[in-house]
């Protein structure tokens, strides 16, 4: 029995409210509205975004979202919501889904949500930040036997640990000193991500006793730039991949949320029996998950 996706919510910067937390709140509310779920029924709320407003480190950003959506903000003695942040580079959202899936499987909670957003933390005070500001939320609950998220896998290849970095450094920027976000990406990083993703895709298929022809749809990371292009070079993969870069380029942790929503609204997701989530992140980390729809 795997966890099923109840709804997906998305958000991009508004005219006035452009911060990561604002975007996450809108995505979370959109998600709850689509599923028509009372926020007080959320057992766990995870924020998987990395680049957040003012680089806040404490408290967990998820608690701001919990408060704004009105999910058990105070203790009543009955239901409660637990919020925390989880980061794992571009794989954070899928790792968050894996953690929520676990709590659903063990019966600890009935509903869980993973929300994520990335934005330039202090606009004008970062170097090399190039991700498109966007947020996504996914709502999960326990599914029926043999469907939903059935298998997760994650691998790292630390030869490339320095190839993609996001750091706050104390340095001079525009004639003054500050804690500046410095992003760096090695040339060829996207190509290595694709190569390592494909290697692990093969291993994943073996583990799940599936063949590539059994996979109907692939929901991939939408970053780093060039990653999807590299994946498409593999024969037979292009038609299975969901690519939203035509509308929104280089979305970081929320990328799979946007791809999932595109697949759901076009009917491709519902029509697919076996759907594969394939994410990559700094490290290089590759995370995969198999989602099976009830046919």
């Amino acid at each position: 029995m795997g966890s099923k996706i109840d709804a997906v919510g998305l958000s991009t910067p508004g005219f006035f409210r452009r911060g990561s937390v604002d975007m996450e709140i809108r995505a979370a509310k959109d998600c709850l509205k689509s599923a028509q779920l009372d926020p007080n029924l959320l057992g766990i709320l995870i924020n998987a975004g990395i680049y957040r407003d003012r680089n806040i480190g404490e408290p967990a950003i998820a608690t701001f979202i919990q408060r704004a959506i009105g999910a058990n903000e105070v203790f009543t003695g009955e239901r409660s919501t637990f919020s925390f942040d989880l980061t794992n580079g571009g794989c954070g959202m899928l790792t968050g889904v894996m953690v929520v899936d676990g709590f659903l499987q063990s019966g600890t909670i009935d509903h869980g949500m993973v929300v994520t957003a990335d934005t330039d933390p202090v606009p004008g005070e970062s170097l090399g930040y190039g991700f498109t500001p966007a947020a996504a939320a996914v709502l999960l609950s326990r599914g029926e036997e043999g469907c939903g998220f059935l298998h997760f896998k994650a691998e790292t290849e630390a030869r490339f640990i320095d190839d993609m970095q996001g750091r706050l450094e104390w340095r001079q920027h525009k004639r003054k000193m500050g804690n500046i976000l410095v992003m760096s990406q090695a040339e060829g990083y996207a190509k290595e991500c694709a190569k390592y993703a494909l290697e692990n895709l093969d291993a994943f298929l073996k583990e799940t006793s599936l063949k590539m022809k059994d996979i109907d749809l692939i929901i991939p990371s939408q970053s780093p730039a060039g990653f999807l292009g590299e994946l498409k070079k593999k024969k037979g993969l292009e038609e299975k991949l969901v690519d939203v870069t035509d509308k929104l380029e280089n979305v970081h942790t929320a990328g799979i949320g946007f791809a999932l929503e595109r697949a759901m609204s076009s009917g491709r997701f519902g029509a697919a029996k076996n759907c594969l989530f394939l994410t990559v992140g700094a490290g290089i980390t590759v995370s995969l998950a198999l989602y099976r729809n009830l046919q």
């Binding site: 709320l45 990395i50 680049y51 003012r54 680089n55 806040i56 480190g57 404490e58 408290p59 967990a60 998820a62 608690t63 701001f64 919990q66 408060r67 999910a71 058990n72 903000e73 105070v74 203790f75 003695g77 409660s80 919501t81 637990f82 919020s83 925390f84 942040d85 989880l86 980061t87 794992n88 580079g89 954070g92 790792t95 953690v99 676990g102 709590f103 499987q105 063990s106 600890t108 994650a154 790292t156 630390a158 640990i161 993609m164 970095q165 996001g166 750091r167 706050l168 450094e169 104390w170 000193m177 500050g178 804690n179 976000l181 992140g281 700094a282 490290g283 980390t285």
Partner: protein, 325 residues
């Protein structure tokens, strides 16, 4: 602290109960603290690094190579590579001072479901910069950065394993976020100095905690089928002596029984954020102050406002620490 210039009489030691703290050298960061704690933890365990199937890094601070804060790649990957744990699934979580106990809660779920057999929860808190940056700003006892003066540096790691008989030995109970109070303590990079700064409404946090802790604790104990008097050692989050004592009094009044033992190491280490509970356990284990079968309760109380309980029976861990080792 000698640099603090406040109006009126000010005795931080008397106010907080903190007499000394540990401070990182300039070359050390959260990474070094985490790594050293991870290696020390492995030495006290029956595991090799390659046995670990999961590593969760839980620190608020993620400083590496001096005061460079690392957002990506995940900090846990650096630890995984440094100790040599190729099999371990790794990711970072952050939940303020409840970070390590949140990590324990997550890992416990993976172990109980049989997904993994053992893993490590690790944290390294290099908080001195928050303290240093608060010094010129604290002018009165009501300063929002007063709490920053109480923090200390520490690394801690804990290995969790599936029990030999398959029976659950760890009770995880009532992890709750009282998000109405999420803005009472906010920390992030300092605007005009290296490292961090933190603004806290300590008085309000204390009021909310005192008002809510009895009923939340009661629910947690009920879920574990325990009474307050059944707990041999309580390890609260180490904030200030006054807060711990008033919390103790409030719980004693609520349950009608005094706690058998409340472990406080604030005097020697200050508030070491997410590592406080395991630092206290480490010290007591080394001093041989636990015995097998003792019922332990670790209480998380963190910005967010997050509350959580981890309850377990002390086992052969007592034999692996102390003078003999």
């Amino acid at each position: 602290m000698s640099g603090v210039r406040m109006w009126g009489k000010f005795d931080l030691e008397r106010l907080t109960g903190i007499k000394e703290r540990r401070v990182c050298s300039e070359q050390e960061g959260s990474y070094d603290l985490s790594l050293n704690a991870a290696l020390d933890c492995l030495r006290h365990s029956r595991y090799q690094a390659e046995d670990l199937e999961m590593i969760i890094c839980c620190s608020i601070t993620k400083y590496k190579d001096g005061m460079t804060y690392v957002w990506e790649p995940p900090f846990s990957l650096y630890i995984k590579e440094a100790i040599g744990a190729p099999r371990a699934l790794n990711f970072d979580i952050a939940n303020a001072c409840a970070g390590m106990l949140t990590g324990v809660m997550i890992m416990n779920d993976f172990i109980r479901r049989g997904v993994i057999k053992c893993g490590m929860v690790v944290s390294g808190e290099n908080l001195t910069s928050a303290s240093r940056n608060a010094v010129p700003r604290v002018k009165t006892i009501l300063s929002g950065q007063l709490a920053s003066l109480t923090v200390g540096d520490c690394g801690a790691a804990v290995i969790l394993e599936r029990s030999a008989d398959g029976k659950a030995k760890l009770e995880i109970s009532n992890f709750i976020s009282l998000a109405k109070y999420s803005d009472l303590c906010i920390g992030g990079p300092c605007r005009n100095a290296p490292g961090a700064e933190m603004t806290t409404d300590a008085r309000k946090i204390h009021q909310v905690a005192i008002a809510n802790m009895p009923s939340i604790t009661e629910k947690a104990l009920k879920e574990s089928d325990l009474g307050y008097g059944d707990i041999d050692h309580i390890v609260p989050h180490q904030t200030s002596m006054r807060a711990i004592h008033s919390g103790d009094k409030r719980l004693a009044h609520h349950f009608g029984v005094r706690a058998k033992n409340i472990i406080v190491n604030l005097q020697e280490y200050g508030n070491t954020a997410s590592t406080t509970h395991f630092l206290a356990l480490y010290r007591y284990l080394n001093e041989k102050r636990f015995k097998r079968g003792d019922k332990m309760m670790l209480i998380a109380l963190a910005s967010g406002l997050t509350v959580g309980f981890v309850i377990f029976n002390m086992d052969d861990l007592v034999d692996r620490y102390g003078i003999k080792n």
